[in-house]
């Protein structure tokens, strides 16, 4: 489902990623750990084409990315199969919760407004926020916002979900409610890559752990071995 081979990337003459190779099979959860600045976010963003890379290759959800800039049409197809959840949630501030979730199915997949809304309500139900369907993001707590963001990414029924430190902006109580949703997804067999500093969570949810240090893979293997 995910293959990264010999990936390198420089930014302003600084090597950010160096010879990174990893693989994630269907239904597995890969945890990306490592110190700050080690390149975790950069690697994750390469996986859905938000960043380009210099050499090596990526295959994700059946789409192949090559070094250099990517064709917009390829990216749009790839991103339908690869969802992403950001540290800062990035909910669409002008839309209600359900419209945040329903936007992409309607605009990208061409669902009717009613079908898109139905899908949005289902997903909000799944993250336990159905009763907040018509609330604006600004009126929701951080944990609720992140759960809406997860529902939003799931709305495209992606084959792979990417999480970039989904809980680092949250307090412990809210962290727990978000992690609960992610663990639930893992149990349902969703293929995921999760950047996290939370080793307890990685042990609990991940099937594979990759540790980055200064842009290189320091160690990788089952959680019990690496952590």
């Amino acid at each position: 489902m995910i293959t990264v081979s010999s990936l390198t990337k420089s930014r302003a003459h600084v090597r950010v990623l160096e010879d990174v190779s990893l693989a994630g099979a269907e239904g597995t959860v890969t945890a990306l750990v490592g110190p700050s600045g080690s390149g975790k976010s950069t690697l994750l963003r390469c996986l859905n084409g938000l960043e380009t890379f210099d050499s090596g290759g990526i295959t994700v959800g059946g789409h192949r990315l090559t070094p250099g800039s990517h064709a917009p049409a390829l990216l749009e197809r790839l991103r339908c199969d690869v969802g992403m959840v950001f540290q800062q949630f990035n909910l669409f501030a002008h839309l209600s919760a359900v419209n945040n979730v329903a936007l992409a199915p309607r605009v990208v997949l061409g669902l009717s407004s009613a079908d898109a809304r139905a899908r949005g309500l289902d997903l909000l139900d799944r993250v336990g926020l159905r009763s907040f369907a018509d609330a604006r993001p600004a009126t929701l707590s951080g944990g609720q916002q992140q759960r809406v963001a997860i529902a939003r990414a799931l709305a495209m029924r992606p084959r792979v979900m990417l999480f970039d430190e989904p809980t680092s902006a949250l307090d412990p109580a809210m962290t727990a409610e978000v992690l609960e949703v992610i663990v639930e997804l893992a149990r349902d067999g969703q293929t995921m890559v999760v950047v996290t500093h939370d080793h307890a969570f990685a042990k609990r949810a991940a099937s594979h752990v990759v540790e980055l240090a200064a842009g290189r893979i320091a160690r990788q293997g089952p959680p019990a071995d690496v952590l």
């Binding site: 938000l50 969802g83 209600s96 419209n99 407004s113 939003r152 709305a155």
Partner: protein
């Protein structure tokens, strides 16, 4: 609503005027379109004080006689006095408005045989030091004498050429502006065509004629150089009117010479006091005209602003997300439109575009100019608005599979629109007031109508208050409307987002 309809009718009338029509076309059309500036005032062309809806003046009568001679009906076209010749071949067949015969005018247009002999009169305050033209030859106690004239008039060129006089010549756009300024002591003297002062003398009881007129010349009718048959027909018609006494009968009716006699007598004795209309009478006579003009103001702003916003948004998006080649072009567009005066853009669109074969009716030209000018400002506002949307919003949209344009349409632009609502609102109100510059290209809106009426009635202050109230009556609801709109946008988009449906 009624104002709107009336405004549309006025505009319709303007749009009908055809370009560079020679005699046969005038006859076929059945109308002789003659241009003048009613703000220029009496006794030439001015709103009838008894019924401001009606134009009167000896040139109104002359135009009627001439049209009759040509077998057609006269139709009046409003224009700004010093730019009336520019209307020839555009929206007018001829200009009849106290145009003095000069070599320059003979070079640029066809000038008819004279129809009126004017004289230049020096005017000063009764209690002032100027009691003879010769007084101006030596500097006064405060240095050079300040003398007011009408910009572009013969009085101006004569006074500027008199190097023997110690005078600073100051040009005004309105015929009697210099009289106002002279009354209040800003000027030491004024020079103008004798018939104008004769006409307004009652209103300026502190002013008097000084000596006999000291120079003079003739008024001529201007036609375009490329309408020789029309020019010849007007000359021939004038000849007949002069020969058979009809022109004399016209002037007898206006009795300009007799009035001047009476003025000289008045200056020698007591100052008469003219009865003023009551405020109620004034409002009854002028309010319908002002309201109609206000309709034009609303029409101009409500048609041009949505255009400005649309173009501005497109330009902003193009500059930020468009192809690299487009960006410098759009930047140039914005800088040129922001860096040049709106007035200049109006002239370019109304007077220069026809030279490359694109003649727009005045109202269309006004709307286009306002829309283009304001689009530059709106695009800068939208650019700031788009920049103010957090970058995470764009990345989140892309990560969901939206294309760049879908992200713009569904996520970035709707948020930017909300962010910039307050500055856009205040720009709307600014544009609303900027519509007054359109009078420069013959569109009569509220401010122009005010100055015409203020001049013809002399009730500058009262009418200013009425006009200001009318502006407020319009801008207040506009402000309320946009505030309501602002609040509506503040709420989450119901249903399926703002831009949908």
């Amino acid at each position: 609503m009624k104002c709107f309809l009336i405004a549309v009718l006025i505009v319709g009338g303007m749009a009908v005027a055809t370009a560079a029509a020679d005699l046969d076309e005038v006859v076929a059309r059945g109308e002789l379109v003659w241009a003048a500036d009613q703000e220029g005032g009496g006794p030439h062309v001015f709103p009838d004080p008894a019924n401001p809806r009606q134009l009167t003046g000896f040139e109104v009568d002359l135009a009627a006689l001439l049209a009759e001679e040509l077998g057609v009906k006269p139709r009046f076209q409003q224009g700004q006095w010093d730019r009336l010749p520019l209307l020839l071949g555009r929206t007018a067949d001829c200009v009849i408005n106290g145009i003095e015969l000069t070599p320059e005018r003979q070079r640029d247009n066809h000038c008819s045989r004279p129809y009126f002999a004017y004289s230049l009169q020096l005017i000063a305050r009764r209690d002032g030091p100027i009691d003879a033209l010769g007084k101006l030859a030596a500097t006064g106690p405060k240095g050079r004498w300040r003398v007011g004239v009408l910009t572009g008039s013969a009085a101006e060129s004569v006074m500027r050429s008199r190097t023997d006089l110690e005078v600073d010549v100051i040009g005004y756009d309105g015929t009697i502006d210099s009289l106002e300024q002279l009354s209040t002591g800003v000027l030491d003297a004024a020079v103008m065509d004798d018939c104008i002062f004769t006409f307004y003398a009652d209103r300026f009881s502190r002013l008097r004629t000084v000596e006999r007129p000291f120079a003079g010349g003739f008024y001529t009718i201007l036609t375009a150089r490329d309408t020789p048959r029309l020019s010849a027909a007007i000359d021939a018609a004038l000849g007949r009117l002069i020969a058979d006494g009809r022109l004399k009968a016209l002037y007898d009716r206006w009795d300009l010479a007799g009035r001047q006699q009476m003025l000289l007598l008045r200056d020698a004795g007591e100052v008469p006091i003219a009865r003023q209309k009551s405020l109620g009478e004034l409002c009854r006579d002028t309010l319908p005209l002002l309201i109609r003009a206000a309709g034009m103001t609303v029409l101009l702003s409500c048609l041009s602003f949505p255009l400005a916003v649309g173009i501005g948004l497109a330009v902003a998006v193009g500059r930020m997300y468009g192809p690299p080649l487009l960006k410098p072009l759009l930047t140039g567009y914005v800088e040129v439109l922001r860096g040049t005066p709106l007035m200049l853009q109006l002239y370019a669109i109304f007077f220069l575009l026809p030279k490359i074969g694109l003649a727009l009716p005045a109202l269309v030209a006004a709307i286009v100019a306002l829309a283009l000018n304001y689009s530059a400002y709106e695009s800068e506002i939208y650019r700031a608005g788009l920049k103010a949307v957090p970058p995470g919003q764009f990345e989140a949209s892309l990560s969901l599979g939206l294309s760049k344009w879908q992200a713009l349409r569904h996520v970035l632009v709707p948020q930017a629109v909300r962010i910039v609502m307050p500055p856009v609102t205040s720009d709307f109100i600014a544009l609303f007031k900027d519509t007054s510059v359109c009078s420069a290209i013959t569109v009569v809106e509220l401010t122009k109508r005010y100055s015409v009426l203020a001049l013809s009635t002399g009730r500058i202050v009262e009418l200013a208050v009425v006009t200001a109230l009318l502006y407020l009556c319009m801008s207040w609801p506009l402000a309320m409307l946009s505030r309501w709109f602002e609040q509506r946008l503040e709420r989450p988009a119901a249903g399926h987002g703002l831009t949908e449906g």
